[in-house]
Symmetry: C2
């Protein structure tokens, strides 16, 4: 029975008769409408909370989750302007215009996590510098970005200072002789760890994308691994692709 009530509410959310941000009927209203117990209503609501469709905001009640995704565009670091009019329009539509960004930066020297050591081809015992950033928009934590660099490359550079680098850490690396010309991106989708839930203030039913980008120099040397944790309710990740040689498959 609670499944049927959840199905009915989900259908209303799908077609938009319950819009993002809309308040759901109260528990008492639903008990009357469907002729069921309080327990049944609560199970239906809990199901939708875990599916990430609604949020509970006591004491006001339950609301349809509002999504105002920010565009995460990994290609932007190598290409500030999109290639195509479609991407231009897309970025504009989803832009965070008018929202107030802020970030917290922390720098540390650590032993690299296994997945970082592997991608940077580090020997056992080699250390890395990591710049850990939490990015906020309008005071809300939006994503976590941890960028790792082999310590021996960046030891005496600006990268070691816990401050914003106007021209970007990539440019500092380039000045040190390690310009990145290629990157490999991997995206994994999973539930957040308790630490991520805490740092990003995530509600139930909110999975994350784990985005790991490895930057290589022209010679194929990996010099940076950037790990970004993107909560699913706050982001759309976007790429543009282009056919390389139009005649190739003609």
């Amino acid at each position: 029975m609670y499944q049927q009530i959840a199905d009915a509410l989900r259908a209303q959310i799908d077609v938009g008769s319950l819009e993002p941000g809309a308040k759901l009927p109260t528990e008492a209203e639903m008990r009357d409408k469907y002729g069921v117990s309080r327990e049944t209503v609560r199970k239906a609501l809990a199901l939708l909370v875990n599916e990430g469709l609604i949020v509970s905001a006591r004491p006001q009640g339950h609301f349809v989750r509002r999504r105002q995704p920010m565009v995460f565009r990994p290609q932007a670091e190598f290409r500030k302007r999109p290639w195509s009019p479609e991407m231009d329009a897309f970025v504009t539509e989803y832009s965070a215009e008018g929202r107030e960004p802020r970030q917290e930066i922390e720098v540390a020297i650590v032993e690299p996590p296994a997945d970082v050591a592997k991608r940077l081809h580090l020997e056992s015992g080699e250390l890395v510098a990591v710049r850990k950033r939490v990015r906020y928009l309008d005071g809300e934590p939006f994503n976590i970005n941890d960028s790792y660099f082999p310590l021996n490359l960046v030891r005496d550079s600006e990268i070691m200072r816990p401050e914003d680098i106007g021209r970007g850490a990539n440019e500092v690396l380039a000045e040190l002789g390690y310009r990145q010309v290629r990157a490999l991106d991997e995206l994994y989708v999973r539930m957040p760890t308790p630490d991520e839930t805490h740092r990003l203030d995530l509600g139930p039913g909110t999975p994350v994308a784990y985005h790991i980008a490895t930057g290589h120099t022209e010679e194929g040397k990996p010099v940076r691994v950037a790990i970004t944790i993107l909560p699913g309710d706050r982001h759309v990740i976007s790429y543009e692709r282009r056919r390389e040689i139009p005649s190739e498959e003609a």
Copy 2:
């Protein structure tokens, strides 16, 4: 208390002392080890199931979730061979070598969902052809791919037949005069719908990536929208990026 037991198990999974596929201690063993009630042990296990870290396989017990991701490489449709040695190595490492692929195909003429109509710039009332595919690997459903085409472009083509198209639907579109040269990819991360859970046989704590690709011709006409639902426990999504003009920011 159940949180602490979950933390202890999670830590063992993180560092690998409990490996993918390993069997967890039984409920009785954990009751003894931690001196807690059956109820407490069950709550700790339920938490880890919902985080997607372990799976329950009654009556045998609980196991650390095994991940054997398949590489989903959207760029492959425009570029069969990777650009870079890093991607070559990556694709090889995660290849589905030796696993048996199979797909089910269904073709229908439908009113487009709102997000498809918008991306194809369709007028109200215009219909689309959709090729719905479920892809299996070793008998396990791996992903769902629904490709939408404006009906007036593909009405009399091979695309309407519920069979595999050896050279690909994109090539059929090109023969009809609509070669795609650019695509815009959007990736959303969310919990699965009940229908997706059913079709993909998803366990608890398994979010999905919703990948929507819009293909455009040289003239900027959108001619195809492909929606792929990728369970997080079975995929890694990958892209390679290249700096366009090395001297641009030098």
